[in-house]
Every structure is written in structure tokens, then in C-alpha cells.
């Protein structure tokens, strides 16, 4: 067993263990922390597959931003722990049966007879001068440039949608009132006062 296999099984063990701990943990904050460990393990598996850019993006974007957003919402909502009692007894047997059948079917279809090393040989490792980011960027900015811009527009729409959903209406908001501005008259704004000037002193 080579060192690559040892690393792979180590990462797989922690990935599966932390995922199981995530779905069975009763505390939402602990579940987020287990999911962080899962994402780190997934990113390490991706580095094993020579996808360095996506692995670091996963850590930066998911662990750094999305998971912190989850934690932020959990802390902000202040979920009462007593209401979060474990209620997953009902669907657990059926869910486990379905999952085990799916895993068995997948193992039959994706086993080493179909995708083993003799069918799909492992590609040679790239040298030190190979840059995954360069290869991705060459594809992303030429062939996939329109999907890239569409993704940017999608993120903009997500920002607008999220802000619009949670924004409270006109409580602390400063905004223009267009009709008042248009309908304003001069007498509302300007007050003409007549000031009698004092008489000039004669020298």
C-alpha cells in the first residue's frame, strides 16, 4: 500500500466520520463545525486529485465565508436548545435502508471492474512547472467566458434577493420622497420677510 493510498484512506475516514457526526449532532453549531472538518477533508481529496485551485477555493469560500455565515445565522437566531430535541427516530430506519441500498448499487456499478486501475489507469503526475490555475484560467476566460459572466450576474441577483428578503420596511431607512419633492412650491421653502432698515444717520 503506497503512501498515496494511506493518505486517501485517512482523509476518507475523517470525511465519513465527520459527515456522520454532522447529520446526527443535535446542536446546530456543532454540526457546522463538523461540516467544516468535512469540507477540509474534501479539499484535501481534491488536492490529491491535482485540483489545487478548487480545493483552496473550497476552503476560502466555503469554510471562510459560507460556514461562517451559517454560524452567524445560528448565533443570531439564538435557537432554543430545549426545542431542538432529537426527533429523528421516525424516518431513521427507512433512511438507513435507502442509503445502504444506494451505496450497494453504486458499488456494483462503480466497482473496480468498471473503473479500476486496469480499466482507467491513473494519469502521470504533473511536474513542478504545471500550474492548475493557468490551465483553468485558459479555459475559463476563452471557452467559458459567457458562463463566467452569467455566474457573476447570478451572484449579483443573489445579493439583491437576499437583501430584499430580509430588509425591514421603512423603520430605520432614509429615502427620498419623490412626490413631495416634485410637488413642492416656493412658498413652502422660501419665506420672504420684509425688514425695515434703520434710518441712516446724518453726518
Amino acid at each position: 500500500m503506497g503512501s498515496e493510498q494511506i493518505i486517501f484512506y485517512f482523509l476518507s475516514f475523517w470525511l465519513i466520520a465527520s459527515s456522520l457526526a454532522m447529520i446526527f449532532s443535535r446542536n446546530a453549531a456543532k454540526a457546522v463545525l463538523f461540516l467544516v472538518l468535512s469540507f477540509f477533508s474534501v479539499a484535501s481529496v481534491w488536492i490529491l486529485l491535482e485540483a489545487e485551485f478548487l480545493a483552496i477555493t473550497l476552503i476560502l469560500v466555503y469554510v471562510g465565508a459560507v460556514m461562517v455565515l451559517f454560524l452567524f445565522v445560528i448565533k443570531m437566531l439564538n435557537i432554543n436548545k430545549s426545542t431542538l430535541r432529537a426527533k429523528f427516530a421516525g424516518y431513521l430506519p427507512l433512511g438507513l435502508i435507502v442509503a445502504l441500498i444506494i451505496i450497494a448499487e453504486m458499488t456494483l456499478v462503480l466497482g473496480s471492474a468498471q473503473f479500476g486501475l486496469d480499466v482507467m489507469p491513473a494519469p502521470a503526475r504533473h511536474g513542478a512547472d504545471y500550474s492548475n490555475i493557468t490551465e483553468l484560467a485558459l479555459q475559463l476566460y476563452t471557452t467559458y467566458v459567457y458562463p463566467f459572466e452569467l455566474a457573476a450576474v447570478l451572484l449579483l441577483i443573489a445579493i439583491i434577493a437576499a437583501i430584499t428578503l430580509v430588509h425591514k420596511k421603512e423603520i430605520n431607512r432614509k429615502q427620498q420622497s419623490i412626490s413631495e419633492q416634485v410637488n413642492v412650491r416656493a412658498k413652502d421653502r422660501v419665506r420672504i420677510v420684509s425688514i425695515t432698515s434703520p434710518p441712516k444717520e446724518n453726518k
Binding site: A28, T57, L77
Partner: protein
């Protein structure tokens, strides 16, 4: 050497764990969102494994776009969750059954 089928079976196991999480979780919607994230990570692992073994970068480009869409989904999902908590005072799955006919 680690074969392609090892990666594929690993990602299918992770997929099933996320699926079981959605089945069994009745406590809060945040955990459901996290299970969806786990399922997306498994799918992305599939894409990257095939991209590595076939020597084609298109799979990694696809993962890039999936990450973008998943980030947007999480942002809007958490916004809806905050709104739900503000209206109902709870984010338990069993409480949010107002669409039931």
C-alpha cells in the same frame, strides 16, 4: 495508486450520508441546508475525479460554476430562514407546514 472507483465510491458514500441527513433531520432547517452542501461536495468530487482521470479540465470548470450557484443558494436560503424565524419564531421542520392543504 488510488483508482477512480475508490473516489467514486467515496463520493457516493458522502452523497448517501447527506441524503440520510435530509431524511432523518426533523429539528431545524439549517441542518437541511448543510446536508445539501454535503451532497454538492460529493457531486463535485465526482466531477474532479473524472476530470483528473480523463485529463480534461472541463470538469473542474463545471465544479467552479457549481460552487458559484451553491454560494448563491446558501445566501438566499439563509435569508429565507431568517425571514421564517422572524415570522414564525421557530425554524423547526415540523412547524413550517403552512403549505399543507
Amino acid at each position: 495508486m488510488v483508482s477512480l472507483s475508490d473516489y467514486l465510491i467515496l463520493s457516493s458514500v458522502i452523497f448517501c450520508i447527506g441524503l440520510v441527513g435530509i431524511f432523518v433531520n426533523r429539528t431545524n432547517i439549517i441542518t437541511l441546508l448543510m446536508c445539501v452542501e454535503l451532497i454538492l461536495a460529493a457531486v463535485n468530487t465526482n466531477f474532479i475525479a473524472f476530470s483528473h482521470f480523463l485529463g480534461n479540465e472541463a470538469g473542474q470548470i463545471f465544479v467552479f460554476f457549481i460552487l458559484t450557484v451553491a454560494a448563491a443558494e446558501v445566501a438566499i436560503g439563509l435569508a429565507i430562514l431568517t425571514l421564517l424565524f422572524r415570522v414564525r419564531g421557530s425554524i423547526e421542520v415540523d412547524v413550517t407546514n403552512s403549505l399543507k392543504g
